[in-house]
Subunit: 549 residues, 2 copies
């Protein structure tokens, strides 16, 4: 058994077991605590990050014609980072050269390498946390989790799913076919796992690690080589990842170009050229449906997994805990200023209002209740900043401005205390408004009054089915309504959270338990991590021969 | 547990076990014997078939505006069969209506229905054998196996693979997340299997059941409804299948329109209209790459699985059993006159000849040896007919004529004793001939002399990678060459048979053990039956709620 596989076996076994039971499990603690990560971990992470800023980022032996990079921290820190870069043809040639060896390694060797990488990435979670802060504009607590342990969880999940599928059927068999009273026919059979070729992982600006790790690790585990193409404004977290991957590959005497970084700048993007390359056989993409559509048309016969645009909704038909509901939703709307693919955007509630533990509440009272809860949550500027983070893209500021005139402003967007920030805007809109039927990425909440509770469910589910959605939330006390919502959102292919209060939010998706993106609506087909996400990344090819030979 | 699931549980368990070990297993005996199928089975099958000929084929309650059908037996029997048919829009509406209920049935109910159907189809294997004879032109022994038990094996394999994947992770879980010293967060989660919608199975002329059952049964098992579109010249075997499916559905009080027949005639095809329908979410297709390409462009967002054109090769570099090799290949070339997707077409051998147990053989002697073995095999007219069957498409006769002028004729094509028939043509071709680099469907064998044994392997593997291939065979005594061939054909994504002699042939693909089509070259992506073939036919959608609720 390869030593790295042996060393990290418990990680794999734990993941495999959890993915069956879907119960809570993680090997990578989400709390950025010195008690867990070591007393000096926090300081070390800060120092490691400070040592990177203002210097060219080096990746030993990486193809390198120039150093480039124009990342800008939404928090205002001067980054002045640059990365090794080479022409696309150089990267493709290097990846193909590495493929010859990497594709021939056995399953346990590959999986062992990747488990070791995840273990080492976990130890760098503070560094990755800071790198994530200054590229995504997230506040540190979220950046630590989403760039560190939660991303590592999803990477491990992908490795485990790939391992399970590669080993689901025997790789060697003796096939003995009876021949009546004659001697049986006996064949020996052997199957080889054959990967597809070069994989391309296209990262996004908001969750560079979390959204990239599943495809990247799944492709590598199944024997493909990988080119990691980060968003030009969020390179560092993935550059660190690529560097760690190459370190372990080098230690094991495996080709380091198995993983390559394709860094670029906003004015000179390289993504299209890589997508169009015939040698690229797998594309994992997170981003807008507009560019997703372009990839679908231009990726040739490459296998394509995407997470794209969607509109997530909250349906409020009643609650036994009005203040708990408002506080819970306030956090969901404010967290990272609505820049999560799981952030809710629309609130649907009956215009006649709802029954609650605090008595009947009119539609306006429901929306105002949520607005007040947001005000309360964000009253302390430091806490506001630590929840909202910053706005990663200037385009989001424009969207907020446009949304302000879509209807009646219930809560205006303000600033958190640091960086380019914006707190949630709540706008009550009527049927004539069409803006709310599109993804309005950022801290924008549309409140829509409907005829009945059933209509509220129906409208949210229909929108999800037509425009895509990754999450939905419903608040209801009537079990009939909950059952109806369950059926409607199942048809719309959206995971539904019911009556969440307290410290668990519709935005949250737990690895090993929640399948993130169902694949059953336009928000994407990359279901993290089901078998469909890993199985077609490789093929089985057999050789068979008579046993006498 | 649903009664049909309980009744047929052993079928499922046997399949699940065999698919893991890849050892020999089948519940459906391939020998058309009265001792196995019942003393009257043969006579009953003949009588049942005779009772169908010359009459409209009835499918109770099937949408039916007209009766149509123009099948012609390549054996010359007057069929005069017709089938219920309705406009595509009528079929789509009926399928959508059935989807509402079928998609909501639970996994064990659906799987139980399909297992029962396969059991009943098995009992009709003699009838299906005769139906297959007179639509595909196969001789009875092959028609019985390929239309009956072997197709049922592949159907069962698809059902088992779907069942395994649907039940691979828990459908209910309690998720309990520790909160330090505080109370844990506890959520209950439930997942629903959500099918994609209407599936379309496009059958081929040569193996209507064998090639259609995997996609059809996989789609149905995962909760999709199905429209079965047979080749216009091979409707009857699938019409019988649809009828049995609907019989069991009706008995169980489930919507019979879960499975519909879309029969058409050559002059008025309906396939394109169904493929283009937005409601069709899965397409399984067997046929030419030309029409496969059209489907890829026009199937919208439907999931597509195909088995398409390819060129299968035999590489001869040496053998320890020259006569055994020649006899084995003679049967492979003659069987169903090369009209199998697994039939070999090209022979590559070094121009300097090969070493054998009968001493050195020149290239010409090798090819002549195979030609002589074919002559010997087909010397008895009745045996010739029972091996070669007939030529199903008149276009194949033209292809033979064209191939005759491609090079030097080593063995000319003749006739078997009955129907429209043609025995194998062997043509030795030079490098200037390009015909052999295309699929030349039918009893056409091209013999190509190469510089070395390694070059023979290389050329066959490169052609497979470029043009697609489903099988490859190599004869070699040098283990180095075998290892090289194993690596080359693995890269080309082709299953390789080594040194086959005796009663096992490169054409044969055994369910539960051999993955048919690897998906790793242009011959198709429908790997029968791996997880990638079943997993994306459905999606999992979750509902989660706090446990206190």
């Amino acid at each position: 058994m390869p030593h790295l596989f042996k060393r990290n076996r418990a990680l794999l076994d734990g993941a495999l077991q959890a993915m069956k039971t879907r119960e809570f499990w993680t090997p990578f603690p989400e709390v950025p605590s010195g008690k867990i990560y070591g007393e000096t971990a926090r300081a070390d992470g800060e120092a490691d990050f400070a040592a990177l800023v203002g210097k060219p980022f080096s990746i030993p032996d990486h193809p390198e014609d120039v150093h480039l990079g124009k990342e800008q921290s939404p928090w205002g820190l001067e980054l002045d980072l640059s990365y090794p870069a080479a022409p696309v043809q150089t990267l493709l040639a290097a990846s193909e050269a590495a493929f010859a060896e990497w594709s021939q390694t056995n399953i346990e060797t590959r999986v062992g390498v990747l488990l070791e990488v995840l273990s080492r990435l976990n130890k760098k979670s503070f560094l990755i946390g800071h790198a994530t802060v200054h590229t995504t504009g997230q506040a540190f607590p979220m950046a630590f989790q989403a760039g560190g342990p939660h991303a590592q969880d999803r990477g491990l999940e992908a490795v485990a799913a790939a391992y399970a599928e590669m080993t689901a059927s025997a790789l060697d068999a003796v096939w003995q076919k009876p021949q009546g009273r004659g001697e049986p026919i006996v064949l020996r059979k052997h199957w080889t796992v054959v990967p597809r070729g070069i994989s391309l992982t296209i990262g996004c600006n908001t969750f560079p690690c979390w959204n990239s790790y599943p495809g990247l690790f799944a492709s590598l585990a199944t024997g493909n080589t990988a080119i990691v193409k980060p968003h030009p404004m969020a390179i560092l977290p993935l550059a660190i990842t690529v560097k760690v991957l190459r370190e372990v590959l080098a230690e094991e005497g495996l080709p380091v170009d198995t993983v390559l970084l394709a860094a670029d700048e906003p004015e000179t993007p390289v993504t299209r050229e890589i997508v169009e390359a015939a040698a690229v056989k797998i594309v994992d993409y997170t981003g807008s449906s507009t560019f997703g559509g372009w990839i679908r048309k231009n990726a040739g016969d490459a296998l394509l997994f995407t997470e794209e645009t969607g509109v997530n909704s909250v349906v409020i038909t009643g609650t036994g805990d009005f203040s708990g509901m408002c506080a819970n939703l306030a956090f969901s709307f404010a967290l990272y200023s609505g820049q999560m693919c799981t952030s809710p955007q629309n609130i649907y509630a009956p215009k006649a209002g709802i029954d609650t533990d605090e008595g009947h509440k009119s539609f306006d009272e429901v929306i105002s209740g949520i607005a007040a809860a947001i005000d309360h949550l964000l009253a302390d500027p430091e806490q506001a900043s630590s929840i909202c983070g910053t706005i990663v893209s200037p385009a989001t500021m424009k969207r907020i401005e446009t949304a302000r005139s879509a209807g009646r402003i219930v809560r205006d967007s303000g600033t958190a205390s640091a960086g380019r920030s914006a707190t949630p805007l709540i706008v009550a809109v009527g049927d004539e408004d069409k803006l709310h039927e599109q993804e309005c990425f950022g801290p924008v909440v549309f409140a829509i009054a409907t005829g009945t509770a059933a209509e509220a469910i129906d409208r949210a589910a229909c929108l999800a089915r037509d425009k895509g959605a990754i999450t939905a939330a419903v608040y209801a006390t009537d079990q009939h309504l909950i059952d109806g919502a369950a059926a409607s959102f199942a048809r719309a292919g959206v995971n539904l959270s019911v009556n969440l209060t307290g410290n668990i939010y519709v935005n949250q998706s737990a690895a090993f338990s929640d399948f993130h993106v169902t694949g059953a609506n336009p928000a994407g087909n990359a279901s993290l991590t089901d078998t469909a996400f890993v199985a077609p990344r490789f093929r089985r090819v057999m050789i068979r021969w008579p046993i006498s030979d």
